[in-house]
Symmetry: C2
Subunit: 225 residues, 2 copies
Amino acid sequence: MAAARTGSGSRQGAAGPAAAAARGGVAPVAGRRQRERSDATVEDLLAAARALFAAEGYTAASLDAVCERAGVTKGALYHHFAGKRQLFGAVYAREQQRLADTVTAAYLREDDPWEAVFQGGRAYLEASLDPEVQRITLFDAPGAVGWEAMRELGVNCRDLTLRGIARAIRRGAIAPRPAEPLTSILYGGLSESAMAIARADDPREALQEALADLRVLFDALATGA
Amino acid sequence: MAAARTGSGSRQGAAGPAAAAARGGVAPVAGRRQRERSDATVEDLLAAARALFAAEGYTAASLDAVCERAGVTKGALYHHFAGKRQLFGAVYAREQQRLADTVTAAYLREDDPWEAVFQGGRAYLEASLDPEVQRITLFDAPGAVGWEAMRELGVNCRDLTLRGIARAIRRGAIAPRPAEPLTSILYGGLSESAMAIARADDPREALQEALADLRVLFDALATGA
DNA sequence: GAACATACATACCGAAGGTATGTGACTGTC
DNA sequence: GACAGTCACATACCTTCGGTATGTATGTTC
């Protein structure tokens, strides 16, 4: 327990630019364990990257700007991430995780397996109306990380959809069929719907119309029983 | 008809790098009218850009490489296009035009308005299986030119879908509803399906399954009459 | 406490998008 | 049919940005 105070709150000798100290943590920094420091830096970088990627888009957002906002230098960035694509990939994975949590919560609230898929879809649609979410998950992700990586970077809503549909089929809530095609149609349809709704003259009304149409579609596919 | 020969086939004084002479045209160049020269240069640039954008993606493809392939310098490129985005936008617009022609042809072959939409969708799906088409229209376009520009850059398949659905509604082939929501679901569903099919273990089988599922969906929405 | 590993900062490089400017070919005009 | 003006480029250059190599203070291990 010797002398723990190290004076300046900056992480190292030179001048730590800014912003990092504004995080929730208490004042001192040098006494923490490496893992905590590392995690905090990654957190700062991801937060800064998310903000800039969302605001300016993947190509327009520069790593220098990300580092400045995170209060770190490029040395730190490249210590934790292999490059710009990987940084974006990490941001994307987080975003999908957040979306998936929301969708899963809505899904689990329903007992009927087909209705549960509907509610999950509804939750995904509503969550995807946020322009920042759209920019990251719908616009830039395909071009930046590719289609395969989008599905392999941890949890993703497409797999959620697939599993929901598969369960609805197993339970007999919809007619037997391979689950993949309907997954593509539903997931792609919801994604495109989100983009259209967000840009509609009256997004509120557009959302209601979309949900009504989606309801018709779900009813049409449900087995009468 | 004075002396028309100008010696070298190169367009101007200095050394025209390459490739441009390989186009279909005959040998001399200087005698043509400006408009023809200009059109030919634009054509070369678009062809080179399409090839590189399709092969390497929007960000990875460099304008220097495009110019080299087109046998032109950046001066020519920036004389005809405002920048990289606009060049890509022009390539994208052409691609959409090509797709739209194919889709329209399939659409017009059917009399029943709802079946015509199905055949148009089928044509769009099959045409979108080409990796080069996918890379340009599905992966890079949203991030590079944005959603609004994708719909304002000339003909596009989404509007075709919208009009087909609107006609099917007017003719009573499907139940009355606002056409926009179903358009988003169908167009987005087909786009996502194309990406999934192209990456499936057995694309042939995946395509058949997708079309079968699409058929079920179309039948479910059709009015019995 | 000495050797080692971690977590950065600093400085630099090359590539690529974009721009400013020059020049020869073309075109309308008198 | 010269001549002025415009068009269609080429050349050279600037700036930004992604990426890398290296130095160094901090933390960890034995």
